[in-house]
């Protein structure tokens, strides 16, 4: 129990995304190469420079009862829905402590978001301004706090080993899963529910990201707007949703006879030290994270067959990431099939690391990696890597490893590795 280098495995996955309200429908969409992007038809969207987004496929109000939903920010609603699926998928039938399958004192929750309860904050400001002080919801603070999703997930499963919320913009979800792996590896917990969530489709974030020139303004072609690695890519498409995994020590999973998806091998983390929003153009910070992954874990470049790229469809970022892969893995890059599922889901910011870890784990389990859609003309600079285009790619037999990259404004770089044995 006090061991400091325990093997961590994934025993459950859950998701609610622009492609579907659960893991199965999301995976079906990813493999079919379906875009989850569509026009924003809300009244406020008319005056926006960006009028497209990847909105959730199944509204959370259809799943969470109204009295509960009115006290949860939309990001917490997504996180709870994904957690419910992942928890059940892991074989747990009740809260920790109720059926003896996991000790609450050995259960953690680490759920992150990039921005937190931003729609609650902005909506309640509208209430304050338009209706007055008295009408501001007493639930505002627990709804807008960035740790709200994590705290609500912690309450849902009865996690008492620790509930955490790492925040690193668009790397947040991956950092949460990495944090969860460490909690188990170092002996603080036996089981951790970890992932990312985001709900930021609102005029202010869209106006702000739009004015940064970070988002695609291909309003006339929503489904073709997110086009990582394509020569005409011109920014990301904002998405929303959540992805959650149940991490568990291998011994705990075996003891209760749980089915294992993959090993969560570990992480590599670094910071660019370059610019508050621009990626370091040569990918040096990302390369540093990849090197740290190789240093911190037993992952060897020869076993890596797939990378779920961060690639958000921005001109600079997509190429820097590929350069980093080549820099660290050299010729071994040739057998790494790279995909950006953001071409289909849009960019979920802090939720990205969550749903993309789910996609990476499923690619291993099914030995089938999803494609990158919308590449009409591959950027010549993307030729340094093997990009999966249009159709899913079968992955080799035998033990295989895949990585999931996530990078965030501020220069945060997180790489997670998952492995399928035999």
């Amino acid at each position: 129990m006090s061991s400091t280098n325990r093997t961590v495995v994934v025993t459950g996955i859950g998701a609610t995304t622009p492609l579907g309200g659960d893991v199965a429908s999301t995976w079906e969409g990813l493999i079919a190469g379906r875009s989850g992007v569509g026009p924003l038809e809300q009244d406020w969207a008319a005056e926006m420079p960006v009028r497209i987004a990847a909105q959730i496929a199944v509204e959370p109000g259809k799943i969470i009862p109204r009295p509960q939903a009115r006290r949860l920010d939309r990001s917490a609603q997504f996180a709870l829905i994904a957690t419910q699926e992942a928890w059940k998928d892991a074989g747990f039938t009740a809260k920790a402590g109720e059926d003896g399958s996991v000790d609450p004192d050995r259960l953690g929750a680490v759920i992150a978001s990039g921005i937190g309860g931003v729609t609650t904050l902005l909506d309640q400001y509208d209430v304050l301004r338009d209706k007055g002080v008295r009408r501001v919801s007493p639930h505002t603070v627990p709804m807008l706090m960035p740790n709200g999703p994590s705290a609500n997930v912690g309450l849902y499963v009865n996690a008492r080993a620790g509930v955490h919320t790492p925040v690193s913009a668009c790397a947040s979800g991956a950092e949460a899963i990495g944090y969860g792996i460490e909690m188990i590896r170092t002996g603080r917990a036996d089981v951790v529910v970890a992932g990312g969530t985001e709900a930021a489709i609102h005029p202010l974030p869209i106006a702000a990201f739009g004015n940064m020139m970070a988002m695609s303004k291909n309003n006339d072609d929503p489904q073709g707007a997110s086009r990582p690695f394509d020569v005409d890519r011109n920014g990301f498409v904002l998405g929303e949703g959540a992805g959650v995994v149940v991490l568990e020590s291998q011994e705990h999973a075996r003891a209760r006879g749980a089915a294992i998806y993959a090993e969560a091998v570990g992480q590599g983390i670094s910071a660019d030290g370059h610019d508050i929003v621009q990626p370091e153009p040569e990918g040096n910070g990302i390369a540093h994270a990849l090197q740290n992954l190789l240093q911190n874990t037993d992952v060897r470049p020869s076993e890596i067959v797939h990378a779920n790229a961060h690639a958000t469809s921005t001109p600079a970022g997509d190429i820097a990431e590929l350069k980093a892969l080549r820099k660290v893995f050299g010729d071994e890059t040739d057998h790494i099939a790279v995909a950006s599922t953001k071409s289909m889901t849009g960019h979920l910011l802090g939720g990205a690391g969550g749903i993309e870890s789910v996609a990476t784990i499923l690619a291993l389990k099914n030995r089938l990696a999803p494609p990158t859609i919308n590449i009409t003309t591959l950027d010549p600079e993307a030729g340094v890597a093997d990009i999966i285009r249009d159709k899913p790619r079968p992955l080799p037999q035998g033990p295989i490893t895949a990585i999931n990259d996530s990078f965030g404004f501020g220069g945060h770089n997180v790489v997670l590795a998952f492995r399928l044995d035999g």
Partner: protein, 82 residues
């Protein structure tokens, strides 16, 4: 025009239903907001604000703690509505 006791109970029942999801028929004079109707301290603030608006009455924060049951709230509103 001032609301009758019956109208106030019916109004509170609708408010509690909206906020806590409790069926309107379960909201009776003798029911405790916290113990019987799933209204915690934060939701109680929502109930009070909604009741103030509906019955045109002011319920200062210091008085809210005395409103344990639906009957307490009904009596308060009956006395203080303008």
């Amino acid at each position: 025009m001032a609301a009758t006791q019956e109208e106030i109970v019916a109004g509170l029942a609708e408010i509690v239903n909206e906020i806590a999801g409790i069926p309107v028929e379960d909201v009776q004079m003798d029911k405790s907001f916290t113990d019987d109707l799933d209204v915690d301290s934060l939701s109680m603030v929502e109930v009070v604000v909604a009741a103030e608006e509906r019955f045109d009455v002011k319920i200062p924060d210091d008085d809210v703690k005395n409103l344990k049951t639906v009957g307490d709230a009904t009596d308060y509103i009956l006395k203080h509505q303008s």
